[in-house]
Symmetry: C2
DNA sequence: TAGATTGTTAATCGATTAACAATC
DNA sequence: TAGATTGTTAATCGATTAACAATC
């Protein structure tokens, strides 16, 4: 399992496979071929097999894959075998929605708290169960709760500075919803989700 | 400008360049080199030049690019030179947040209305200005307002059916937030934004 | 054993980067 | 003209796919 040299897209697709496997598992299916799983995930069977082989050898020739086994293996590889703590910085519209979003919990993530410069004001109107704290408490909180993952939903103008605070707090990976290209140490992983760009992209192709 | 054969990633990056150009433009900068623009967008200069050349020839050798001109050209190519109408289906937590999200307007998009099976209930608690309508009105509404773009934020179980309704309503492109692999005619463009997968991905790399 | 299906190599395809001639 | 910087070709790199031997 060479952590490097595994294409990022392969890891991404592993999540996709995991999701499909979960469905098959819930449906009571015990064994599945690369053909059927690939079909469900919307990829070519040969790509599925290649992807899986980056992480190990899970199938039985002539038989296929044991759903439960492969599901467990994928979950293990992705590190979501236990509930993972997450912090969110920037509790505006989008941030609030993500705090309340049930899809994260289903995937094994738990947003422990939100952080915001106007935390007192935000606290009053919050529509979810978690607390909103001051950014001053970020570092202490993350250390205490061993948080390595974060979601960044501040305004673009505050993004770089907030990101640096996250890094100082020991955060290893940031899901960045701001349209800012973050400049951070290479040791920190950043995944950008730029909603405006996604729409622009659709605008181009949707004609 | 061969619409096909242009890599999807090149289009995606064009949006990125556009965003940077907008910033430079607002900052009063008139001319920019591929080096400086690439630096701002976080790509290699040679990639920037290659990308731009898919769409035409915009620079002056020895000089660089005229910011305003290139900005206008990129906007034109992406089709956001005028405000583009969008509909959203599934006005839950995430859907509501996106209805209120200001970033779309800034990028030239306007969500005209939300659609939901429980539209009457949703209508009462809504936190934004647009109307929430019944799915029965979707097709008529889209035709009347010439809507080609849509955002899909329904529960996974309702995704495929809702997507098909969108297609029937004449929608050409869907920004899909559900973890469902949509099966639609090839003529319809689908961009998937899978938040759970993004987090899983971070979980893998953030260690 | 025969049929099925994986794991893996080799071929293909596409995207990124380096290099440089064109030209302002 | 000399210096700068684009546009574009060719080389590299990486990812996808086809093919098939291994093996259940």
């Amino acid at each position: 399992m060479k952590t490097s040299s595994i294409p990022r897209n392969a890891v991404y697709r592993l999540s996709l496979y995991r999701h499909c496997l979960q469905q098959f598992h819930e449906g009571g299916i015990q064994t599945i071929s690369s053909d059927a799983l690939a079909e469900a995930a919307g990829v070519k069977p040969t790509q599925l097999r290649k992807d899986l082989n980056y992480f190990g050898q899970f199938g039985t020739r002539g038989r296929g894959y044991n759903v439960e086994e492969l599901l467990r293996a994928a979950t293990e590889v992705l590190g979501t075998n236990r509930l993972q703590p997450v912090v969110l910085v920037g509790v505006g519209n989008l941030g609030s929605a993500l705090m309340a979003y049930q899809g994260f919990a289903r995937a094994g993530f738990q947003i422990l708290a939100g952080f915001d410069v106007e935390w007192q004001e935000r606290q009053k109107h919050r529509q979810f169960t978690q607390l909103i704290l001051s950014l001053d408490e970020l570092a202490t909180f993350c250390r205490k709760n061993k948080v390595k993952l974060s979601i960044l939903t501040v305004p673009a103008s505050a993004a770089q500075e907030a990101a640096e605070q996250l890094v100082k707090a020991g955060i290893r990976a940031i899901l960045n919803f701001t349209p800012t290209v973050l400049r951070l140490p290479k040791s920190v992983t950043v995944n950008n989700v730029n909603l405006a760009i996604e729409l622009e992209n659709l605008s181009y192709f949707g004609r």
